[in-house]
């Protein structure tokens, strides 16, 4: 049988990047516990549109945990109270009847609010552009399967590669640091022979870009890894430090 709950939403509303924002409170009744968090927001927006009010702007795309767009800070946690999932994978059964749910945008100097709950996460794209790739020249490409890679390395690279660039790590961090994201991207390539060639250059370029964009200095609190929807491990940060320090000593 379908169960429903009544909830109170406290949502951050902000007309534009420069506008002053504030919380608005909305009551929603009879929300199915089988619905997802974003479906609940759709219900809210439909209600607002029917009342001729402006709907709440929030980012979303795939709604299946792979694109990393759904950047909502719910009740003090990026991607909500459940662990190892994105906001779009969060269900309303995680909330109690009568509960007040506070929804905020990512708060970080490098992720300015565009409107309401939508933030500009292009800072992460810029870090990727600075070096999060393997340069390929035109011509014959060797068969990837011809290069033997130890299972352990391949697994660790895959785990790091599961990062979807959602920004929850910087949003969760008391230092506003993007280290977990950068560490995941550096690790995923540094662990594989194809990426190893440019590992030193990549670590330096990506850290330099990260610093330039105004992210903070990591103090290893680990809030990032605790909140990461893909459970990217904190030890990737140690690998990034290792790559970076070795690269600097070689210069």
């Amino acid at each position: 049988m379908e169960k429903t709950i009544n909830i109170t939403l406290k949502v951050w509303r902000q007309a534009g990047p420069k506008a002053k924002g504030g919380f608005e409170t909305y009551k929603l009744d009879n929300i199915s516990t089988d619905s997802s968090f974003l479906e609940m927001l759709d219900v809210l927006n439909e209600k607002l549109i029917n009342e001729r009010k402006e709907p709440v702007v929030f980012d979303h795309d795939c709604r299946e945990g792979i694109c990393g767009m759904c950047s909502l800070y719910i009740n003090g946690h990026p991607h909500g109270p459940d662990s190892a999932i994105t906001t779009c994978q969060l269900h309303m059964r995680k909330f109690k009847d009568g509960e007040t749910i506070t929804v905020e945008p990512w708060r970080s100097n490098a992720f300015p609010v565009i409107k309401d709950l939508m933030v500009d996460r292009r800072a992460y794209d810029k870090i990727i552009q600075a070096g999060g790739f393997v340069s390929v020249n035109t011509g014959g490409v060797p068969d990837a399967n011809a290069i033997p890679i130890p299972k352990k390395d391949a697994d660790e690279a895959m785990d790091a590669a599961s990062c979807i660039g959602c920004g929850a790590c910087a949003a969760a961090c008391k230092n506003g640091s993007a280290m977990l994201f950068v560490a995941a991207k550096v690790s995923q390539l540094a662990l594989l022979p194809q990426g190893k060639v440019e590992a030193a250059r990549r670590a330096k370029a990506m850290v330099a870009k990260m610093d330039e964009l105004g992210f903070g200095n990591c103090t290893n609190t680990g809030a990032c890894a605790a909140e990461c929807p893909k459970s990217v491990s904190l030890s990737n940060i140690a690998r990034l430090n290792r790559e970076f320090i070795c690269a600097k000593f070689k210069d």
Binding site: N75, T102, M210, D211, N217, N220, F244
Partner: protein, 218 residues
């Protein structure tokens, strides 16, 4: 220079100075233990160090490390505060795996700094400083006996040690992590090592303070 203008570099300065201070604490604490085992031996150590050139070089080096560590602590904290942006979250919650100490390193640092000042006035100003100024220093053992016979001194020192313990339980493993000496297998191990070292150091210091407080009561 990457030690100033990159985030990872600044962290390297933080962890190298911090880890050097930990090594000093280990040395200092072992010296203190002698005060329990053999008071005469302790006075010999005091005389041996005194204001001799090697002790002075050590003191200057130590002061340098401490100043750099504290300076960087402030720079990093200000930069990190700015990186959070102007708006703060309305609701925040804690994560189970995040240690309390790791989020309060600066506050703990302030308590430690206060303790260092008190400690320098109690001992350094009456021993090495006096000797540098050419007068005869007070006797180390007597200073210990006198200082820890006052209950409020014991209380101040115990609070100080507690702050050091919290600072080091995070600091030691964090400094290894910052240098890149960590992976999934070693993570729980270095956290354990961190706790053991922090506890060992603090127990060594606290035992001397408590021992001489109890002695003063008898």
């Amino acid at each position: 220079m990457w030690l100033f203008n990159s985030s990872v570099g600044r962290k390297v300065v933080m962890c190298v100075t911090g880890a050097s201070l930990v090594l000093f604490l280990l040395f200092h604490a072992s010296m203190n233990l002698v005060a329990i085992i053999s008071p005469e031996g302790y006075d010999m150590i005091c005389e041996f160090l005194g204001a001799n050139w090697y002790a002075l070089v050590g003191t200057v080096g130590l002061a340098g490390l401490a100043v750099i560590h504290i300076l960087y602590a402030f720079i990093l904290s200000v930069q990190n505060y700015r990186a959070r942006g102007n708006a703060r979250y309305e609701v925040t919650d804690r994560q189970e795996s995040v240690e309390w100490a790791s989020k309060n390193m600066l506050v703990l640092g302030f308590i430690i700094l206060g303790g260092i000042c008190v400690h320098l006035i109690h001992f350094w100003a009456k021993m090495q400083l006096v000797e540098i100024l050419g007068a005869i220093p007070e006797n180390g053992m007597e200073l210990i006996r006198y200082t820890f016979s006052q209950w409020y001194n014991l209380a101040i020192y115990l609070v100080w040690f507690a702050a050091i313990w919290f600072h080091l339980t995070h600091g030691i493993w964090s400094s290894m992590h910052t240098l890149g000496w960590n992976n999934n297998i070693w993570m729980p191990r270095i956290k354990c090592i961190s706790n053991i070292f922090a506890t060992l150091i603090v127990l060594m210091f606290a035992s001397v303070a408590i021992y001489y407080f109890v002695i003063s009561l008898i």
